[in-house]
């Protein structure tokens, strides 16, 4: 059957802040390979639509990109949006909307308008900011609605949600004909905290993109040719959800026993200044390095250099970084409060608050060479089986079942 999905996204490489953009791109590419025609609607402030087209797959004959003028960015909150809106001209504010509610309303209206002449079989929207657009478009085209959930407001706020955003998410879930959650962990959040019926939710784990195929470089050596101390890596936005403080608490425990171990905190975010101060106050100034925002090549270098990758998230719907680390052959210690643990068996898994045990797992990996070697080889091999091609096949069959129903 020929399928046409009208998809509402909110970030897409190279304009992306987190894993959502990467996941969207992987899914779109996987669906294309499964013969699904995609029309992708993206918000972006850049008036030059060419850039969006350019980032799509080389084999993108059936992809049409429609751009909606907006300065919405993922992971937005009222506060951060207000800051950015304050920096743009009054005229632009009129175009984009001066507050987040207004911005979403404009995005939603424009999205439906722009896709009016299409004839999709299904509407698929990603995370809360696109749900309004998805609901209206599905209603307009009289086709089923799929709401994909990559991260809930509860994950981002350590279960202290902004009521307005929570309400937006809930209305999207209720209106959808089918919900795709990125993990069983997220499915449980939806059933427990949003009151969604479990049988309405399908779990499709994120896949790994091509650039994540295992790297040949399994070396732990410094490029300067001398012996290096082991390095433990954190990579993620420096926000509460990602657990940077837990990482530093763990670092302190390790540092007490093994002062030669180095720690790298890679990523940018609201909590960066606070974390730098915290590290200094904990006496870690000599062993913790804050990199700020890192590009994809630097990220690759960091994975290769690290003896161990730690993801101490407080609540992580999936956690693509852990898969990336595994793909690079870096042993992984994961928060049990994450979705990626469901697909990454070859790892240590601890509760995010148990920094003592987290430290112990890291130290065991550093001490036990056979263990590190096995985690390196087994986890990276497991990652290769989790392809977007396969995951998109599951999404395609969800479309088909909805359309036939």
């Amino acid at each position: 059957m020929s399928l046409h999905a009208l998809m509402f996204g909110w970030e897409y490489p190279p304009l992306h802040l987190g894993g959502l953009g990467v996941a969207c791109q992987g899914l779109v590419q996987g669906l294309l390979r499964n013969g699904v025609k995609i029309t992708l609607v993206l918000p972006h402030a850049n008036k030059n639509a060419e850039r969006d087209v350019a980032v799509l797959t080389t084999d993108n004959a059936s992809v049409t990109t429609l751009s909606v003028p907006s300065i919405l960015q993922p992971y937005d909150t009222h506060g951060s949006y207000d800051i950015r809106a304050g920096n743009i001209s009054r005229e632009d504010c009129n175009i984009y909307g001066g507050d987040i509610a207004g911005a979403i309303e404009k995005y939603t209206a424009a999205s439906v308008n722009i896709s009016r002449n299409l004839a999709p079989n299904v509407v698929h929207c990603h995370d809360w900011m696109t749900y309004g657009a998805g609901v209206r478009a599905a209603h307009y085209h009289r086709v089923p609605l799929v709401a994909h959930i990559h991260a809930t407001e509860l994950d981002r706020t350590n279960f202290h949600p902004n009521k307005w955003i929570y309400g937006f998410e809930k209305r999207g879930f209720d209106a959808a004909d089918r919900i795709i959650a990125v993990s069983n962990y997220t499915k449980n959040v939806l059933t427990e905290h949003y009151g969604i019926a479990a049988d309405k939710i399908a779990v499709v784990h994120n896949g790994t993109s091509e650039h994540l195929t295992p790297q040949a470089n399994f070396g732990m050596h410094s490029r300067h040719g001398k012996k290096d101390h082991p390095m433990v890596l954190f990579l993620g936005r420096l926000v509460l959800q990602k657990g940077p403080k837990q990482f530093l608490d763990m670092a302190k425990i390790i540092h007490r026993k093994h002062p030669e171990v180095q720690f790298c905190v890679a990523g940018d975010g609201d909590m960066l200044p606070e974390m730098v101060t915290y590290a200094i106050n904990q006496g870690l100034s000599q062993c913790v390095l804050f990199t700020g925002k890192v590009g994809s090549r630097e990220v690759s270098e960091l994975y290769n250099r690290a003896s161990c990758f730690v993801m101490p998230s407080l609540s992580e719907p999936f956690g693509l970084v852990a898969l990336e680390a595994a793909a690079h052959g870096t042993p992984v210690v994961l928060s049990k409060q994450s979705g990626v643990r469901e697909v990454l068996d070859h790892s240590f898994q601890v509760d995010f608050w148990d920094t003592e045990k987290m430290a112990d797992c890291v130290l065991t990996i550093l001490r036990e060479k056979p263990l590190a070697l096995q985690l390196r080889s087994e986890a990276s091999r497991a990652v290769t089986y989790l392809t977007w091609q396969h995951q998109a096949e599951v999404v395609r069959s969800i479309y088909e079942n909805l359309i036939q129903a």
Binding site: M220, D345, R367, A382
Partner: protein
């Protein structure tokens, strides 16, 4: 602990030699509980004082299984042995299980003693610590078997004559070693790849095999008995019929479900040959198969039906005697490679299938000399408890992703958690040995992290 195998029909190939009468039945139950490890931490390495084991958890599990399996099954079997004087069974009870009886359940030990007093029960020999020592150290293997034999003699006032190695791990060499140790029989898995088209329902002998002079000397020094046997017979597990009870009994998707004692006895009679050897974990009764599956009613009905149909039950030793008296030619069971009763593979991969498992076994073996040299019984005991095969089984990553039986049996979160705890215990033991050593300081400093190049 035995793993689950895939569902297969409860049929067995007919034996080559049809005797006309139905095969006798040889029932043997494995009784074992390991000492599970505490959530050990690296910060405690050097000060654990051999306190590696999770007393609370081990006690709780022992009591739980005692109430569900050991006590009720022993009571039922005692009743059956009294009611049916021709009903015979065999147990292999690991030394670490007997140790746990002393710690957590004298009542359980007492109930096994009562069974022994009935006179219809044979106790088999095994490695005291349910270990993989046969893979690493002949001397250690011999010492552990001897220790077990002496313990069984002391507790049950009988001397084991038949050897059952951990998880039925077996190969030709082991049979010859057992013969030289003085055993007249040894148990093994009836693996299709070795049997070919032959039935497991007969006794076998190993091919002629010369044990090296050095090993012969070691055997003479540490064996449990004064003299070697001229011959040794191999009893093979009939895995189809054994697993019908042990694994498939309550499986509703199995074509044989629900299995009645009558039907099972039909299958036993139909399986032909000289003896049908039903080997299984004792925990099958009440623990792996819960009471509400009807497993106890099934067991209760068997001796009566067997008596009615003229089927004999024999202990392993009686089976060997009867076989020898029957003057049948004894076929050869030729196992060059190790086999076991675990998983589909029936090899060593459940304990030695990945890098962490082989590293863990090599590391424990590397301590043999210094531990012996310490002559500290507490230290030797702790070192040996760490040799229990279950520790390595918990580190298995084969089928791990499928949520399979290894996961079911493991008390830990993951194979890596099993290795983490185990390696901490080992590091602590090493440090203790190092600090006691009066020789030059050891070159290995286990508190130090290796540099990336090391």
């Amino acid at each position: 602990m035995t793993p689950k195998k895939k569902i297969q029909l409860g049929t067995s190939k007919p034996a080559n030699q049809q005797t006309g009468s139905p095969p006798s039945i040889c029932l043997y139950f494995q009784v074992h509980q390991p000492y599970r490890l505490k959530d050990l931490r690296i910060s405690d390495v050097g000060s654990m004082n051999l306190q590696y084991f999770d007393t609370e958890k081990n006690s709780a599990i022992f009591r739980k299984v005692a109430e569900k399996c050991y006590l009720p099954t022993n009571a039922l079997l005692l009743e059956l042995l009294h009611a049916h004087p021709n009903f015979k069974i065999a147990f292999s009870i690991s030394g670490v299980f007997l140790d746990q009886c002393k710690e957590y359940g004298e009542d359980v030990l007492e109930s096994f003693r009562k069974l022994g007093e009935a006179g219809q029960v044979e106790f088999l020999a095994e490695t005291y610590y349910h270990s993989l020592s046969c893979l690493t150290s002949l001397r250690e293997f011999l010492e552990q078997v001897s220790l077990h034999v002496r313990t069984i003699e002391k507790l049950f006032r009988v001397t084991p004559k038949v050897l059952r190695n951990t998880e039925l791990i077996y190969r030709n060499e082991l049979a010859q070693i057992a013969r030289l140790m003085g055993f007249s029989g040894i148990l093994s898995e009836g693996a299709d790849r070795i049997l070919g088209d032959r039935s497991a329902n007969q006794l076998f002998e190993p091919p002629d095999f010369k044990v090296s002079l050095k090993d012969q000397r070691t055997i003479r020094s540490f064996r449990p008995f004064n003299k070697a046997q001229r011959d040794i017979r191999i009893l093979l597990k009939n895995y189809r019929l054994s697993d019908d009870v042990a694994f498939r009994f309550s499986d509703k998707s199995w074509i044989g479900f629900p299995l009645t004692a009558e039907c099972f006895t039909d299958w036993l009679m139909g399986s032909g040959g000289f003896t049908t050897n039903l080997f299984m974990d004792y925990e099958t009764f009440g623990e792996h198969q819960w009471a509400d599956t009807g497993i106890f009613d099934f067991l209760r009905a068997l001796p009566r039906i067997w008596q009615e149909r003229g089927i004999l039950a024999r202990t392993p030793s009686e089976t060997i005697d009867a076989w020898n008296q029957s003057k049948q030619p004894t076929p050869c069971y030729d196992a060059h490679e190790f086999l076991s009763w675990a998983d589909q593979e029936r090899d060593l991969s459940a304990w030695q299938g990945n890098r962490i498992q082989t590293a863990a076994l090599a590391a424990i073996h590397a301590l043999e000399k210094p531990v012996r040299k310490s002559e500290d019984p507490r230290m030797i005991d702790a070192w040996r408890k760490l040799q229990t095969s279950d520790h390595f089984y918990y580190m298995c990553t084969k089928y791990w992703s499928d949520g399979d039986v290894h996961k079911y049996f493991s008390p830990y979160d993951s194979p890596y958690e099993a290795y983490r705890r185990f390696s901490h215990a080992l590091c602590d033991l090493k440090q203790m040995l190092d600090s006691r050593s009066h020789d030059a300081p050891s070159t290995i400093h286990h508190s130090a992290l290796p540099t990336p190049d090391s």
